[in-house]
């Protein structure tokens, strides 16, 4: 058993943790990072092996050793989820993600107020726990800018300081300057998507991605091999935290990374402060780190789990939980999807960066009038391979054949052989409003490889607002497929109510300590030397992917800690 002392301990070295490690190390703070997975290098990634990385999930948590259970409601029995869609190594999910890098819309930060102003309070479902964020887009814009430039994001501005730019997303919030890198090349799927979308009056554009379109900061530009989502980039063109911020953290001389370590408790004393963490080493040893500042930055489940596991006589409901809000308001993206197949042309969608290649934002957020539609908020609509990954196994497994074509046999083989190179999927990635009864807690029946209770999700997205929105969007996707000139357009069946990608919530931020867990900086209302940074703090979702916003929040918190908290520890808001 070892005991170490440090200024800052950070649990989880992913999208948020890596940024905090680098920035706090630069500010002269001694940082120890705990990471339960290994630290791999670019040379460790053999991209191009779909079976290994996509089917066998080589870069994701082992769902058997590290189970997360799900039940649709509090009366049902929870069963382990088959796929865990987050990272399991230094760099976290940014190692294997599709690298889609959005700034949220201005109204994503205030969707409660926006909805009430435009449609009245009755437009918000009665059981919905929607609150505004405790910060505005303008507050976060400088940190979005830093994230884009320090990490390396490719795209085209659609709104430069209020001036609309042709070819970018006209619905984006104003940005201070152009992206650091031009957009990635559009493949055939992007070309036909854009043409079809324009016919319908939409505004398509190349999705912004944390993938280098050309050499940047000593890393090479993308070679369009087509293996991004679920893969580590074998040339380091993906701007993962592994190849961007972790080397910066190393260079500060103030950073130590402990891999293969599992944090199981945040320690606190009777004064109401946290004093450090306990963790198991890769050799099974039981260790302690004493720290002035504890930052939790794992994937969202482990924030709730750690806070609940760390209860004491002083904090009987878990740490940072005087509000009773820990574990509540779990949200995830819902995927509405259609397939479009062409008898008269190839699409070859397996080429190029493969997740959500080309997009339109016309049906997202409050970018369109929802009057009379029976739902609020919207979706990012994109062209993409069947399962955001371009290989043939993914297409076969994730593309349901059109009506009348069986799932096996000669007709199925003929379907695959004719359409694999001639299909595209069109997806609407749509948000889930927050509901207090969508929760994370500790599973009383299932334990993980360390003997800790598994995180248990209680969640079912199939509520009236979400179902109405998904049906509306499926109709839009079918129109798009036809406008693209597809010979065949058909829907993918909607799944059971299980959470999809991009889980958010559980330790939400807010303006009121009675209804939220942390303030705008991720600082616990109850315990000022405890921070929680990541998408678990989101009070509401966007139709957009969450990662760039996680990163911007990490920059903002690092800035507040380095420039304010370090000199005068105490509440920042």
């Amino acid at each position: 058993m070892a005991t170490e002392k440090t200024d800052v301990v950070i649990v989880g070295m992913g999208a948020a943790g890596g940024i905090l490690a680098a920035e706090l190390g630069k500010a002269g703070m001694k940082v120890i990072g705990l990471e339960r997975g290994p630290r791999l290098a670019t040379a460790d990634f053999s991209a191009l092996d779909e079976l290994r990385y996509f089917q066998r999930q080589d870069l994701r948590p082992n769902a058997k050793r590290q189970p997360v259970t799900w039940r649709p409601n509090a009366k049902a029995r929870a069963n382990p989820l088959p796929i865990l869609n987050y990272g399991n190594q230094a760099g976290g999910g940014t190692v294997h993600y599709g690298a889609i890098s959005w700034r949220f819309h201005e109204d994503d930060f205030r969707s409660r107020s926006q909805t009430i102003e435009r449609y009245g309070a009755s437009a918000i479902p009665k059981d919905c726990s929607l609150i505004d964020w405790p910060l505005t887009y303008a507050d976060l814009e400088p940190f979005y800018d830093r994230a884009e430039y320090e990490l390396g994001v490719s795209g085209r501005a659609g709104n430069l300081q209020g001036r609309k730019i042709e070819g970018g997303n006209p619905f984006e919030a104003p940005r201070r300057r152009e992206y650091p890198l031009p957009p990635l090349m559009a493949d055939q799927s992007g070309v036909i998507f854009a043409a079809g979308a324009r016919k319908l009056g939409y505004h398509p554009f190349s999705s912004p991605r944390a993938i280098l379109s050309q050499t940047y900061q000593g890393r090479p530009g993308c070679t369009y091999c087509g293996f991004c989502q679920a893969f580590g980039c074998h040339i380091g063109a993906k701007s993962s935290i592994l190849v961007t911020k972790l080397p910066e953290a190393d260079a500060t001389g103030n950073f130590k990374l402990l891999t293969g370590t599992m944090c199981y408790r945040v320690k606190s004393d009777n004064s109401g402060r946290v004093t450090g963490v306990s963790y198991w080493g890769s050799d099974g040893s039981d260790n302690t780190i004493e720290a002035e500042l504890v930052i939790l930055a794992p994937f969202i489940y482990d924030n709730t789990r750690l806070l609940l596991l760390s209860k004491t006589a002083k904090f009987p409901n878990g740490l940072a939980n005087s509000s009773g809000q820990v574990g509540k308001h779990l949200m995830a993206h819902i995927g509405a999807r259609v397939f479009a197949a062409f008898d008269d042309r190839f699409v070859n969608i397996y080429m190029g960066p493969n997740a959500q290649k080309h997009s339109l934002d016309d049906c997202n957020a409050d970018n369109f009038d929802h009057s009379g539609l029976g739902f609020i908020r919207g979706a990012q609509i994109s062209i993409t391979p069947a399962d955001l990954e371009g290989g043939p196994i993914g297409a076969a497994m994730s593309m349901n054949p059109p009506p009348g074509v069986p799932r096996w046999g000669a007709a199925y083989r003929d379907f695959l052989s004719k359409y694999f190179a001639r299909y595209a999927a069109i997806i609407a990635q749509t948000d889930n409003l927050p509901y207090a009864d969508q929760t994370i807690d500790l599973d009383p029946n299932v334990r993980d490889q360390w003997g800790l209770p598994a995180p248990r999700l209680t969640y079912d997205w199939r509520r009236p607002n979400e179902l109405a929105r998904v049906e509306f969007l499926l109709g839009k996707l079918e129109e798009l497929g036809r406008a693209m000139g597809a010979t065949h357009v058909w829907r993918s069946p909607l799944g059971a109510g299980a959470p999809g990608a991009h889980h958010e919530g559980g330790t939400r931020m807010g303006s009121d300590p009675k209804t939220s867990v942390v303030n705008r900086y991720g600082q616990s209302w109850d315990i000022p030397n405890l921070f929680i940074i990541g998408s678990s703090t989101y009070p509401s979702m966007s139709g957009f992917n969450p990662t760039l916003t996680i990163q911007a929040l990490a920059y903002m918190s690092a800035d507040a800690i380095a420039n304010r908290y370090k000199n005068k520890p105490g509440p920042l808001a």
Binding site: L48, Q229, H234, G409, A496, G500
Partner: protein, 253 residues
């Protein structure tokens, strides 16, 4: 075939075999012949429209299955992605070999499901059609598989459709995965669907000109930069939870 004697069954099976040879020579070449007829009695492939390299694939040594199990799996994958005058299927891709090998490695946790599932399959085939699955006609095999898919076939644990989906998933993997894993032999799966294969770079021209790309016919591990990162065959485990996820959780990021 329900009331035939063993000898008649062998004869009929062989006739069935020869019939298939007439249509697609390769199907006979890779069928587990010793389970049905002495190897010496095998007819050579005749009149095939398939490419020469797809024919005359030797049958690999078994790593996990018994000969009887292998025969059943061979027959099953050959119906899931069949071979006919329109092209090759899972048999030529050696999907059964992929499964046989993986069950001693990355898919070891599915081995019990195969052992009990294949046994249940033969029991159900005998009860409903009068012979083990591998010895049924293709029409009878399809009827049995349809019963499994629709979960009306009995005797499976936990149920027939779970086993059906497991084998379907592994058949797809064995037909379309990197040949490194023992399936997709001679890139037959990738050629079948027009996937030109893995490549380190795709040019602007490739992406712009609506091309039908020339296949690379290379495994990822044929590229020297990846030769050091070959996966350990048994390095992964506990993956059966990933099966049958159509329409369920997405991978999306």
């Amino acid at each position: 075939m329900a009331n035939k004697t063993d000898d008649e069954r062998v004869t009929l099976s062989r006739r069935e075999l020869l019939k298939r040879v007439g249509i697609v020579g390769v199907a006979a070449a890779s069928v587990p012949a010793q389970a049905l007829v002495p190897a010496a009695a095998m007819a050579p492939p005749v009149e095939t429209s398939l490419s020469p390299q797809a024919v005359a694939l030797p049958r690999e040594a078994l790593e996990t299955f018994t000969a009887v199990e292998a025969a059943t799996v061979e027959a099953m994958v050959a119906r899931l992605i069949p071979t006919d005058e329109n092209g090759p299927g899972a048999r030529e891709a050696r999907a059964a070999h992929y499964i046989d090998r993986a069950l001693s490695g990355a898919l070891a946790s599915s081995l019990d499901a195969y052992r009990s599932g294949l046994s249940a399959l033969d029991s159900y085939a005998r009860a409903s059609k009068g012979a083990p699955f591998a010895q049924l006609s293709t029409e009878e095999q399809d009827a049995v598989l349809t019963d499994m898919e629709h979960n009306v076939a009995t005797g499976f644990a936990p149920n027939a459709s779970t086993f059906f989906n497991l084998v379907r998933t592994h058949t797809i993997q064995g037909t379309f995965s990197d040949p490194y894993y023992g399936g997709n032999a001679n890139f037959v799966g990738w050629d079948l669907i027009g996937y030109p294969g893995v490549r380190l770079a795709v040019t602007a021209n490739d992406q712009r000109l609506d091309p039908h790309l020339i296949p690379t016919h290379k495994s990822a591990y044929d590229y020297t930069m990846f030769s050091k990162t070959r996966p350990a065959r048994a390095s992964l485990e506990g993956l059966e939870g990933l099966e049958g996820r159509e329409g369920r959780a997405r991978h999306g990021d």
